[in-house]
């Protein structure tokens, strides 16, 4: 019986405790920079699309919410379309881990509710941002040994000129 009275008293004291509730739309919680929410496609420092449509993200996606088609322009690979169905996405971040060019990245923006389900399918225009995201200096074509306009084979960073393997000279 006494323990009941004690319980009553201790519960009553909670009237003077601070509420743990975060009044969400008014006060937003802190989101860490690495928080995994809305997915974006970043651009390289020169403003070109980073995505080379290697399909690794689509392959690794456990819920198959990514769909893309490769196209080519003067040696550079682009996605012809890049589509993420956010009504399926589970924000696991595996696509970001799989991406070899830092193109696909997850951001702390989680406010993406929609009244109609089709609006949750994001096309490439919705996904592409104008900046570089978390990796400001990285440019895939500057370090990769692919020939693109303005950069021939052997001209990439830390790349030697190509060797003529049929030549006899040392």
């Amino acid at each position: 019986m006494l323990s009941n009275v004690r319980t009553l008293w201790l519960t009553f004291l909670h009237l003077f405790h601070r509420s743990e509730t975060v009044g969400y739309p008014e006060t937003k919680p802190y989101m860490a920079p690495r928080y995994r929410a809305r997915i974006i496609l970043s651009r390289d420092p020169d403003g070109a699309e980073r995505c080379v449509s290697c399909n690794l993200c689509a392959a690794v996606c456990p819920v198959d919410c990514i769909s893309l088609q490769k196209t080519e322009d003067q040696g550079r690979w682009y996605p012809e379309y890049f589509r993420i169905n956010f009504s399926r996405c589970i924000f696991c971040g595996l696509c970001e881990e799989a991406c070899p060019t830092y193109a696909i990245q997850l951001t702390p923006d989680y406010e993406m509710s929609e009244y109609e389900r089709p609006n949750l399918v994001y096309e490439k225009e919705d996904l592409l941002i104008s900046g570089t995201g978390k990796y400001p200096d990285y440019n895939f074509y500057r370090v990769a040994g692919m020939a693109v306009p303005g950069k021939d084979k052997g001209e990439a960073e830390r790349e030697d000129p190509p060797v003529d393997i049929h030549g006899l000279l040392p």
């Binding site: 319980t7 009553l8 519960t11 009237l15 601070r18 509420s19």
Partner: protein, 320 residues
Amino acid sequence: MTLGFGILEIVVSLAAMLSAAAGLTWVERRLLGFWQDRAGPNRVGPFGTLQAVADGVKLLFKQDWIPPFADRGVFILAPAAGMATVLLGFAVIPVTAGWSVAGHLNVGILFFLAMTSLGVYSVVLGGWASNNKFALLGGMRAAAQMVSYEVFMGLSLLGTVMLAHSFSLVDIVMAQGRMWFIVPQFLGFVTFLLAGIAETHRLPFDLPEGENELGAGFHTEYSGMKFGMFFIAEYAGIVLIASMITTLFLGGWLGPVLPPVVWFLLKTGLTICFFILLRAALPRPRYDQLMMFGWKVLLPVCLLNVAVTGAAILLFSPTG
């Protein structure tokens, strides 16, 4: 008192009672929130005060479903009976000396006890007519619980009646001019409080509902405004028991400085808050524990209280 004024009084009392009961749902959720370190409903209107209105509108627009296997007539009658008995019980509560529908009724306490006893029918019939095993179990529990707690609900008030020499609630309040009855009748107060909680089947004693084992107990099959009536009847029952406690043990409208109405509302409100605190703090006992507590602890305590009070009155009364 003219007839027109009497009717006006009844209408005002009914409206006040019903809106208090509806508003109480908000008060309860808010207070529970505070006691659990969260905010409670605070979105609809200022501080969430219109939450009760929103809930009412929602309940009105819900499908009013009567299961095909239910006993139709009784099924509809049960919530109405619960509501009616609680509202009738409020008739004898004197808010102030001059303001009560039937506060001077010379069998006021008996009328109140009769109305709370009739309230059992609402729960039992609701559980029975639903033709559902969980509802029936809830109804049976309610019957056993309310009948056994009613036994000493009456007994716990006997001491008060003896001290006041009257069954009329106005007279009982008047008799508390020198000292509130909570002091000489502390045991009576505690037992009546516990019986009142059991009577309104409020949370430590809400076994008729027992969400975790019976679905929703006796109102499992109820929906829409019929459920709403059970719901409002429960809250009106809390207001009724709280105002009874105020009247019988806390000196009713008596108090210094403030006007009598304010004193009555203040005491009733604090008692209601205590009811909600009980809900926030205490777990539900097992069913056999509940019955054991009633028959083996509270009933003897009540009898002891009656005996001691009677002896004291005989000893100290000027005539004896």
